[in-house]
Amino acid sequence: MIIPDETGRPDESPISEPTPVVAAVPGIGGVPGAVRVIRREAVYFALRNKKLVGGLTVVLVFLLVGLFGPVFTGPDPLAYVGPPAQAPSGEYWFGTTTFGQDVFGQFAHGLRATFFVGFFAGLLAAVLGMLVGFTAGYRGGLVDEVLNMITNIVLVLPVLAVLLIIAAYLEVRSVQVQALIIGVFSWPWVARAVRAQTLTLRAREFVDLARLSGAPVRRIVFREIAPNMASYLFMVFILLFGGAVLFAATLDFIGLGPTDGISLGLMLNYSVKWSALHLGLWWWFIPPGLGITAIVGALYIMNVGLDEVFNPKLREM
């Protein structure tokens, strides 16, 4: 062998035509019918994917706890309800803080804030990033250069410093404002990645064929290019979701979190502030820490599963 790094690309595919996996509606392609078929197949494979189902289950469990937990624990997570520094028990599932606040109540309320920030900040950043990335990548030329410049400027802004200044100016900070701020500053790398992918996909011949079919730009971008990036965009959203959760926790931790309410980050902040670690109150900081880790981890595993669902080639393995 003379070439040290062989590409390993199989030149001949000895694997013969795979048998069709799904007996779908014979679709000569009535348009609404075709879309329905695609969705139905995606669901079919999604339900059979262990990674996706497992990850989704974990996320849903936390979401349900966040949605319904507060109904049982009362409306105010900061209320002093019991004896201080109690270990977990039947009455207080996650124990109490040094002030006698219910940790489970805080955890459930905190999950709400965490999901809220993660979802909306992630969504905002993904939408902004996609808009900029698709436009720059598909249009090209001057539009691309201007958008690229803006992206790079936002990318090199010292986000934490800017956030500190913004946070210092805003006297009343809510979870919504936090989500907005995080979202507005996390899109640039999405835009760059989407732009790069759009550039390569735009050069593919199926995009030319779509143009030859008289499809408008909007449809080419969202129906031809975007579906090829679907799993990638979902991964982006997951990373943004996770990133926003962690970023929110950081802000909370250094005292720039919401001025009202509770979040998993604020719980960590309080537990450290009141020396939970030294006092051995593990039930105060373990649940929020574990919660953040589990949510982010489960989302990541979901993403891997989703890739298999969206990619028909991986699907047949």
Binding site: M1, I2, I3, P4, D5, E6, T7, G8, R9, P10, D11, E12, S13, P14, I15, S16, E17, M317
Partner: protein, 316 residues
């Protein structure tokens, strides 16, 4: 006799079972012979080329024997084959040109490669330059990056490199298919030059383009669906093929001068069988215009004329 392959079977492992990409192949290549291996995609020609030098991760040696210069090649053992690779048998892979590391100069890559085989660069550098000259390359290419060379230049540099230690067998796998016609000819003729200069004893040229091997090969072997269909001296195979597949393949090729209105050519209907659980009997049976009952049995690959072998009941 340089190369003798006997009953070689190499399968691809897949989750759904073995794909019989190379199924019971027997042939020989003489000293000084250039043998062309032609066939369509999926016929096993590249698998054959790889089997003689390195099985990739998905390939599984099943049985058979390969002898090179009367020594058996341990093709099932990746480590033992190291003694033979490059020195006795060398391969120019299909994507050799694009497999060159773009961030390293050609000369440094050559040095790395030689030293990884325990050969000091200085002992062969003079010969290397001489041979680069023979294929029309300046010694200056050693100081350049792959991106600075054209496809044909890279391909010729790779060829020189592959044959630097005078292997007895060189396997060239589709090395001209990405090139323009005028470069294609230069590369193909360089291969003949290597044989004439004694850099290699014999050559196996694998290609989908039977008219290319017609130009340079002494014998042509046609493969179909993992098996050998026909093997004969070049002129015999092209001018009087006996296997129906070879006949149809050759008659489906438009030649310069043939026009649609004048002489309408036709292709071969159907497609090759799946090699995962292939059908018994002759694998060309379903597409063959002259198939008969006997084709349910597998035809042996037998000599039907001087140096002319075919696997067809109608031919023998």
């Amino acid at each position: 006799m340089t190369l003798r392959v006997t009953g070689l079977k190499v399968y691809y492992r897949t989750l759904r079972g073995d794909v019989r990409a190379l199924d019971d192949v027997t042939f020989g290549v003489e000293d000084g012979e250039i043998m062309g291996v032609a066939g369509e995609s999926g016929c096993g020609k590249s698998t054959l080329g790889k089997s003689l030098i390195r099985l990739d991760g998905r390939m599984r040696y099943v049985e058979g024997r390969v002898d090179l210069d009367y020594k058996e090649l341990p093709i099932w053992d990746d480590a033992d084959m190291n003694d033979f690779r490059y020195k006795e048998v060398s391969l120019i892979p299909q994507y050799a040109m694009s497999a060159l590391n773009p961030t390293r100069k050609i000369g440094l890559m050559v040095r790395d490669l030689l030293e990884s085989r325990g050969i000091p660069f200085d002992t062969v550098s003079a010969e290397l330059e001489r041979r680069l000259g023979l294929v029309g390359l300046d010694r200056e290419v050693l100081g350049r990056y792959p991106i600075e060379l054209s496809g044909g230049m890279k391909q010729r540099a790779v060829m020189v490199l592959a044959t630097l230690l005078n292997p007895s067998l060189l396997i060239a796998d589709e090395i001209t298919s990405a090139l323009d016609v005028s470069t294609q000819r230069a590369v193909a003729e360089a291969l003949v030059g290597f044989r004439d200069n004694g850099f290699v004893d014999s050559l196996i040229v694998i290609t989908h383009d039977i008219s290319l091997v017609y130009q340079i090969a002494d014998t042509i072997m046609v493969m179909y669906a993992g098996k050998l269909a026909e093997k004969a001296p070049t002129d015999v195979l092209v001018n009087s093929p006996r296997h129906p597949y070879t006949q149809l393949l050759i008659s489906s090729l438009p030649e310069v001068g043939v026009r649609y209105e004048g002489k309408r050519l036709s292709g071969i209907p159907g497609s090759p069988p799946a090699l995962l659980n292939p059908p018994s009997g002759c694998r060309f049976r379903d597409r063959c215009p002259v198939a008969f009952d006997k084709c349910g049995e597998e035809p042996p690959f037998v000599e039907i004329g001087p140096d002319h072998f075919a696997a067809c009941w109608r031919a023998s």
